[in-house]
Symmetry: C2
């Protein structure tokens, strides 16, 4: 039986403050909940509608716990969606990791990407291009923000974002650092190696001054028309595509 | 002297119905208004704040008409922004054109791109890659929708979108039609010619069946990870980048 207390509790996880306090977050929508269950998260509670369960014989098994059947109205009260006649699940946030960077993979580094929609889209792009690791400055949007999770279109389950002090990270690495800047080398002519960091800057201001000195390979997407800039997610996609074609 | 009637009139242009009826639209924000004035639009009215005019000696000249000084609160009542202490302008919509397609340029063709934010972002991407012409199915988001104009970040002034029946357009052209599909040729291996149509499909369903037969060059962005798809604007950027590197 779903209580008002539970609804209020889940709803509170929309805010970073309460997510941090409880160590929990939620994802909403049928597809996202299924992606969550397939990932390596510790899932605490799953709420589903009767309609969602119909014809999904294996769902209870995948869950590993008994899903609670609720009404769509309850899902809407807990989550951020305007419609959701499917599912919502609460899971444990991953603990922060400060492991070494891989030497034979590409890792995205985000310097102050503030917009949750942009971060979610970047996670989706990373996932498409087989990049499973992102490091982000502390002032980048929060991975567990519902808008980030939702705009990642399920890719949140396959891409890990770790928040780090990028300056000290760059200071202590010998990996090549590719950085998206306005006066770098033409990315169409760039030869990407087997791995390294790919630094993308803030939506308005680009890469901050304190990090520029660490860029060993400044790269630029050549412009053929009049637009002043590309959105950071768009630029990330183009750079990833250039990396993967190499 | 700004009247309530004027405010109400401008505000009504947020809706397609009234834009169509009046043949007018508005753009908001200092940068967008300046881009509008630099474009080939017939501008009817310009509203600015005192602050915006300060230090912009040439603005009145660029305007070609006397801007009306108003308060920020008035700009907010007319437009869609939450803050705008700069400018808003009303201009004539371009008349529809059914001219021949250029043979030595790339033209984007959008089949049912419904989200205004996506259309605006695609316009910005087209502008970056020097593509000044887009043809779109009638059910694509409206070019003059404030969300489209705003998310184009000023590129609306340099890129033209014409709404056409794409089926009859494709039926009557000998140009190559590149189409973004899931089972096409690897775009990294594709040789793009000097021009042609680049067909991008709807956010959820891709290119509709009735148009698939016209695709002479099906192309696919290779996937390296787990994401099911890329956003249509992201895919457009990657395809444009591949075209331009040729």
């Amino acid at each position: 039986m779903l209580t008002n207390k539970t609804i209020k509790f889940v709803k509170s996880l929309q805010l970073k403050k309460f997510r941090k306090q409880e160590g929990l977050f939620f994802v909403e929508g049928g597809k996202s909940v299924e992606e969550l269950l397939e990932g390596d998260f510790s899932v605490k509670q799953v709420f589903v509608t009767k309609e969602f369960l119909e014809g999904k014989e294996q769902f209870r098994e995948t869950c590993g716990l008994e899903p609670e059947v609720v009404k769509e109205a309850d899902l809407l009260r807990m989550g951020t969606f305007k419609t959701n006649n499917a599912a919502l699940a609460v899971a444990e946030m991953r603990s922060a990791r400060n492991t070494d960077l891989p030497t034979d993979e590409f890792v995205l580094a985000l310097d102050g990407v503030r917009d949750p929609g942009n971060l979610g889209t970047i996670i989706r792009i990373a996932d498409w291009y087989g990049i499973s690791k992102i490091v982000a400055s502390e002032d980048t949007a929060d991975f567990y923000n519902p808008k980030v999770l939702n705009s990642s279109m399920g890719s949140f389950a396959r891409v890990r974002v770790d928040y780090r002090d990028l300056e000290s990270l760059f200071e202590n690495t010998d990996l090549p650092v590719y950085g998206a800047v306005l006066d770098g080398n033409d990315i169409h002519a760039e030869r990407f190696g087997k791995g390294g960091l790919v630094l993308m800057g803030n939506e308005s201001n680009g890469v901050r001054d304190n990090l520029r000195q660490y860029i060993s390979h400044p790269v630029t997407i050549p412009r053929f028309g009049g637009a002043e800039s590309l959105n950071v997610a768009t630029a990330t996609a183009v750079i990833c595509d250039n990396i993967r074609r190499a």
